[in-house]
C-alpha cells in the first residue's frame, strides 16, 4: 500500500499523481530567507517538493526573531540560511534541504551558471539591479524565475519565464465541443430525423437540447447569411428564439438549450491569432 502517500492524500485530490510527481521532481533555489522566502518554502516543503537550496549570507539577528518563526533565540549569531533550512527539513524529511551561506548578489555576479540546475528560482529582497541580472541568467537557462518582496501590508510577486508548456491543464469542467454550429454529417442526419414541433408534449420535452441547438442555429444562420450571433443583442435574440420554441414551463431540455447556447456562439475554425503565430 502506498503509505508514504497518506500524508499527501488531500493535495493529491487537487493535482493528482502527475502533479505530485512534478512537484517531487522539482528543485527550488531560494535567494534570501527572510519571512517572505521562508514562508514560500514552507508551503512547498509541506507539499513534498524535491529539493530546496537556500542562499543567504546573513546571520540571525535579534530583529529576525520578531518576524520569522523559523528561527529562535538559540539561532542568533548563526547563519540564517542554516537555521531556516533546519526548520524546513523538520517539516518534511522527504525533501532534500541544502543551504549556502553566501550573499545572492555575489553569487549572481560570480557564478551565473549555478542557477541553471534548478527548476525554479525564488528571489526575495533583491534590488532591481540584481533582479535584472538574474532575469537575464534565468532566461538563458530557461529556468522559471519568481520575484517577491513584501512591505508591511503590501508586496508583489512577479513571474518571469520565457515559455512554459502545460499539457494536463485539468479544466474544472469537461470541455465538450460538438461543433453545434457546424455539425458533422451523422449528427446532422440525426437532427433531421427529429421534428422540433412534434405535437406530443412528452416527445416535445424530450428532444435532446443538442438537437434543439443544431436546428435553431441552422435557422439563424440561414436568416443571417451564414453569420452566427455575435453581439449581445443578437445572442439575446437567439435565446428568445429558443424560448419561443417552448410549449410548457417545465421543459428542461429547452432550459438546457438556453444555458448551453453559448456553445454555438463560438466562431468556427482556428482563432486568427493562432494562425498568425509562426513560433
Amino acid at each position: 500500500m502506498a503509505e508514504p502517500k497518506a500524508k499527501y492524500d488531500r493535495q493529491l485530490r487537487i493535482w493528482g499523481e502527475h502533479g505530485q510527481a512534478a512537484l517531487e521532481k522539482a528543485t527550488i533555489c531560494l535567494l534570501n530567507c527572510g519571512p517572505t522566502g521562508s514562508e514560500t518554502l514552507k508551503n512547498l516543503v509541506l507539499g513534498g517538493v524535491g529539493s530546496i537550496t537556500v542562499i543567504d549570507g546573513s546571520k540571525v539577528e535579534p530583529g529576525d526573531l520578531g518576524n520569522n518563526f523559523m528561527v529562535d533565540e538559540s539561532c542568533v549569531g548563526q547563519s540564517k540560511a542554516k537555521c531556516v533550512c533546519t526548520f524546513l527539513q523538520e517539516l518534511n524529511d522527504a525533501v532534500k534541504a541544502k543551504f549556502i551561506e553566501e550573499y545572492p548578489e555575489a553569487l549572481i555576479g560570480s557564478n551565473p551558471s549555478f542557477f541553471s540546475q534548478f527548476t525554479i528560482v525564488v528571489a526575495t529582497q533583491l534590488v532591481e539591479d540584481s533582479m535584472i541580472k538574474l532575469d537575464k541568467i534565468c532566461r538563458e537557462a530557461n529556468v522559471l524565475l519568481i520575484f517577491a518582496r513584501s512591505y508591511g501590508l503590501t508586496g508583489f510577486v512577479r513571474i518571469s519565464v520565457k515559455e512554459h508548456a502545460v499539457i494536463e491543464s485539468k479544466p474544472d469542467h469537461f470541455l465538450d465541443d460538438l461543433r453545434l454550429n457546424n455539425p458533422w454529417p451523422e449528427l446532422k442526419r440525426f437532427a433531421e430525423t427529429i421534428d422540433l414541433n412534434v405535437t406530443d408534449p412528452v416527445a416535445h420535452k424530450h428532444t435532446p437540447y443538442v438537437v434543439i441547438l443544431v436546428k435553431i442555429v441552422e435557422e439563424w444562420t440561414k436568416a443571417h447569411s451564414g453569420a452566427l450571433p455575435s453581439t449581445w443583442d443578437e445572442k439575446k435574440e437567439f435565446k428568445e428564439l429558443l424560448k419561443a420554441g417552448m410549449v410548457a414551463m417545465d421543459e428542461d431540455n429547452y432550459k438546457e438549450a438556453i444555458e448551453a447556447s453559448f456553445k454555438v456562439f463560438a466562431s468556427r475554425g482556428i482563432n486568427s491569432d493562432l494562425l498568425r503565430d509562426n513560433a
Binding site: 493535495q11 514552507k42 507539499g47 469542467h173 453581439t231 445572442k235 444555458e259 453559448f262
Partner: protein
C-alpha cells in the same frame, strides 16, 4: 501600520480561535507574529497523518495527540511569553456558553463543518461579540465578517445543506458512481457490519429454495458453520444478482432508463479463492493491518480495478472482517481511515456500478466520496489566515467602514486573485438574527414529533439541545436535569403524530422551538398538507420563510446572469452550476459572492432601495464592455457566480 492605536488594540485583545486544523495552524502563527498576547483555542480533534501536508505546527511524532495542545506548544516555542489557552473539547459543549463567549473581543472560526459554524454564529449573536468566519476548499477560500446589527450574521444567507439523494435512486436507479458508494456504505456495509436491528432499505428477503432448509428470514445472516467464502459469494449473488433480477421485473422503472445487468459470482470468479490462492486467512495475522489489497497483491490505490479484481476484493475483505474482526461486527460504522472498510465499500460500489453501466473508480476516488474528503493545500490556508487577521484587527479598532468579505479565487478575475466585497446589512427575514417566523408544511396526521425533531429542528435549524413548546405546553426538551417521568413523557411524545400530541399540533397552530445554549428561538407556523413528492420532497415536510433578501429582484438578475454566462462563452462556465453543487456537497461554508444591498453609502440613494440597482448597472456595464470587445474573454467567475446565486432556490 505601527500606529499606537493599532498596537494597543491588538495587545489588549483577547481572542478565541475555534479550530486548530488547516486554517487554525496558519492563523495561530499569524496571530502570534502579529503581536496578539492572549489567545484561546478550541479543537476536539487529534492529529492524523493526512493533516501533515498543511498543518505545519504538527509532526509525525504528534499523530494521535490533541491539535489544540500541540499547536499551542509549537507556537510558544517562538513566542514564549504570550498566553495561549488550549481546549481539547467540542465547541458545542455546554461550558462554552454565552458567558464564555462574552469574555472575548472577537471570535475567529477555522472550522470544517456547517453545524459547528451555525452554533458559534448563534453564540456570537447572543454574546454580541464579532465573528470572523472563514473556509477553504482546495484553492478556493473566503473570509467574512459578522457583527450583530451591522452586518449579516453567518446564517442570513441560508447555507446549502450536505447533498442527499432520494432513496429510490440509491436502492433502485443509480446513475452516478456516488449513488453506488452511498449504497455500498449506508446500505450494504451497514447491513453486514453495523447494527442488525437498524431499519435498512436493502432487500433482504430471498425466495431461493435451496436455503429453505433453515427457513432463514434474513439472507444476510451468516450460517453457523458456513464457510466464509461461501457466505461472501452468497451475499454477492443476492445483492448483485437476485436483487437486480427482482428490480428488472418491474418494467415501468426501466421504460426510460438503461437496464442494469445481474452479476453472479460464478461468472466472474469461477474458482474458489482459497483453493486457488492456497492461502487461508491466518487468524494470527496482525489485526490492524488486515487488508484485502495487500493479500491480493493490489498495490496502487489509484488503479481502477476490473470487475474480477473488485469481486476478489469484495470476497477477501468480507473474509478478513469475519476472521480477524469478528468482535466488531454488529457495531461497526464506516470510517474512512479504516482501510478494510474502504476496500469493501470500493469493491461493492464498483460491482454495482458495473451492473448499472456506470464507470468504475479507484479506491482513492471512492474513499474521497465515501469519506466526504475535502481536498486541501497549505497555501490557501495561509492566505486565508492572513486575511482573517487583517479583518480581526479592523474589528478590534472598530473600523466598521473597512470591513470586507474577501473571496480567494482559483484563477484571477480581472487580474485579481482576491475579491473584496463590502459586508451586507442583516437580512430582515433571517430567522436567526432577525427572529422571523417560519412556516412548515407537514402532514400532521402522519408525521411524528420525532420526524419534526430530526429533520427540522436538528438538521435544518441546527439546534443541539432543543426545547419544543406548543402554546404553554412543553412537548419536548433535552437536558441533564430531567426527571425520569419527564423523560418518559418526552419519549412517548416523540412517537406520536403531531395531531395526537397531548397538545394537538394541527394546521394553523404555531410551535416555538428554542435552544437555550445558543439562545436561539424560532417560531414555526404549521400548515397541514396531505401529499409530498417522494423525489423532490423526500423529508415529507417543507420549511419556508427563510429567504434571501430581495426575492423580487430575482428575474432581473437571472436574465442578467444568462447574459453574463453566455456572452463570455468559455465552455467551462455553465459548469458554474456544477461548481455550486460541488461546493454544496462539501458544505465547508465556501460561498460565492452575492449581489445584495451594501453597507457603504457610496451607492446612489438609500442603501435599502437603490444599491442593488447600482450593482445591476455595474454588472450590466461589465457585460456590455466585454461583448463589444471580445467574445472569448476569460469568463468572469465573479459575475456568473453572483448571477447564479440568485438562481439557487
Amino acid at each position: 501600520m505601527a500606529s499606537l492605536q493599532h498596537s494597543q488594540a491588538i495587545k489588549g485583545a483577547k481572542v478565541l480561535m475555534v479550530g486548530a486544523g488547516g486554517i487554525g495552524c496558519e492563523l495561530l502563527k499569524t496571530l502570534a507574529l502579529s503581536d496578539f498576547q492572549d489567545i484561546h483555542i478550541i479543537d476536539m480533534d487529534t492529529i492524523e497523518v493526512s493533516n501533515l501536508n498543511r498543518q505545519f505546527l504538527f509532526r509525525q511524532s504528534h499523530v494521535g495527540q490533541s491539535k489544540a495542545k500541540v499547536a499551542r506548544d509549537a507556537v510558544l516555542r517562538f513566542r514564549p511569553h504570550i498566553s495561549i489557552t488550549p481546549y481539547h473539547a467540542n465547541v458545542k459543549d455546554s461550558n462554552f456558553n454565552v458567558d464564555f463567549f462574552k469574555q472575548f473581543n472577537v471570535i475567529l472560526n477555522g472550522l470544517d463543518n456547517l453545524d459547528a459554524r451555525r452554533h458559534v454564529n448563534r453564540l456570537c449573536l447572543a454574546a454580541e461579540v464579532p465573528l470572523v468566519e472563514s473556509g477553504t476548499t482546495g484553492f478556493l477560500g473566503q473570509v467574512t465578517v459578522h457583527v450583530k446589527g451591522k452586518t449579516e450574521c453567518y446564517e442570513c444567507q441560508p447555507k446549502p445543506a450536505p447533498k442527499t439523494y432520494p432513496v429510490c435512486t440509491i436502492t433502485s436507479t443509480p446513475s452516478k458512481f456516488v449513488h453506488c458508494v452511498v449504497w455500498a456504505k449506508d446500505l450494504l456495509f451497514a447491513k453486514l457490519f453495523g447494527d442488525k436491528n437498524q431499519d435498512n432499505d436493502l432487500n433482504v428477503r430471498s425466495n431461493d429454495a435451496a436455503r429453505s432448509s433453515k427457513n432463514v428470514d434474513d439472507v444476510f445472516e451468516w450460517g453457523e458453520n458456513e464457510d466464509i467464502e461461501q457466505y461472501g459469494r452468497r451475499i454477492y449473488d443476492h445483492v448483485f444478482g437476485y436483487n437486480i433480477e427482482q428490480a428488472l421485473s418491474n418494467e415501468e422503472t426501466w421504460k426510460n432508463r438503461n437496464k442494469p445487468r445481474p452479476i453472479y459470482c460464478r461468472d466472474v470468479l469461477p474458482d474458489i479463492m482459497t483453493q486457488r490462492n492456497g492461502n487461508n486467512v491466518d487468524k494470527t495475522d496482525d489485526l490492524s493491518s488486515a487488508s484485502a489489497m495487500a493479500s491480493l497483491g493490489l498495490k496502487n490505490p489509484q488503479d481502477i480495478w476490473c470487475l474480477m479484481e473488485n469481486t476478489k476484493v469484495f470476497i477477501e475483505a468480507l473474509k478478513l472482517f469475519f476472521t480477524n474482526r469478528r468482535k466488531e461486527i454488529g457495531n461497526l460504522s464506516f470510517d474512512k481511515d479504516d482501510l478494510l472498510a474502504v476496500e469493501f465499500v470500493t469493491a461493492a460500489a464498483n460491482i454495482r456500478a458495473a451492473s448499472f453501466n456506470i464507470p468504475l473508480q479507484s479506491l482513492f476516488e471512492a474513499k474521497g466520496i465515501a469519506g466526504n474528503i475535502v481536498h486541501a493545500v497549505a497555501t490557501t490556508n495561509a492566505i486565508v489566515a492572513g486575511l482573517i487577521v487583517i479583518e480581526a484587527i479592523k474589528v478590534l479598532k472598530k473600523d466598521t467602514e473597512s470591513y470586507r468579505m474577501t473571496y480567494c479565487l482559483e484563477h484571477p478575475s480581472k487580474k485579481m486573485l482576491l475579491m473584496p466585497v463590502e459586508p451586507f446589512e442583516p437580512n430582515k427575514s433571517c430567522c436567526v438574527c432577525s427572529e422571523t417566523p417560519l412556516s412548515l408544511e407537514i402532514n400532521t396526521h402522519r408525521s411524528k414529533l420525532r420526524d419534526f425533531v430530526e429533520k427540522i429542528v436538528k438538521a435544518k435549524l441546527g439546534m443541539n439541545s432543543p426545547l419544543i413548546m406548543h402554546a404553554t405546553a412543553l412537548l419536548y426538551e433535552v437536558g441533564d436535569d430531567l426527571e425520569e417521568d419527564e423523560i418518559a413523557n418526552y419519549n412517548a411524545n416523540l412517537e406520536k403524530v403531531l395531531s395526537e400530541l397531548p397538545s394537538p399540533v394541527t394546521g394553523g397552530t404555531m410551535l416555538t422551538v428554542e435552544d437555550l445554549q445558543q439562545e436561539f428561538t424560532c417560531n414555526i407556523h404549521i400548515k397541514h398538507r396531505e401529499e409530498f413528492d417522494e423525489e423532490k420532497e423526500p423529508d415529507g415536510m417543507v420549511l419556508s420563510g427563510w429567504t434571501q433578501a430581495l426575492p423580487e429582484k430575482k428575474d432581473a438578475k437571472t436574465s442578467n446572469g444568462n447574459g453574463a454566462s453566455t456572452s463570455k462563452s468559455l465552455p467551462t462556465k455553465p459548469g458554474n452550476t456544477e461548481i455550486d453543487i460541488e461546493v454544496k456537497e462539501i458544505s465547508d461554508g465556501t460561498v460565492s459572492p452575492g449581489t445584495k444591498r451594501k453597507l457603504s453609502e457610496f451607492s446612489a440613494g438609500s442603501p435599502v432601495d437603490h444599491s442593488s440597482d447600482v450593482d445591476e448597472t455595474r454588472n450590466n456595464k461589465k457585460i456590455q464592455k466585454h461583448d463589444d470587445e471580445d467574445e472569448l474573454v476569460m469568463l468572469d467567475h465573479w459575475d456568473s457566480d453572483m448571477s447564479k446565486k440568485q438562481r439557487l432556490p
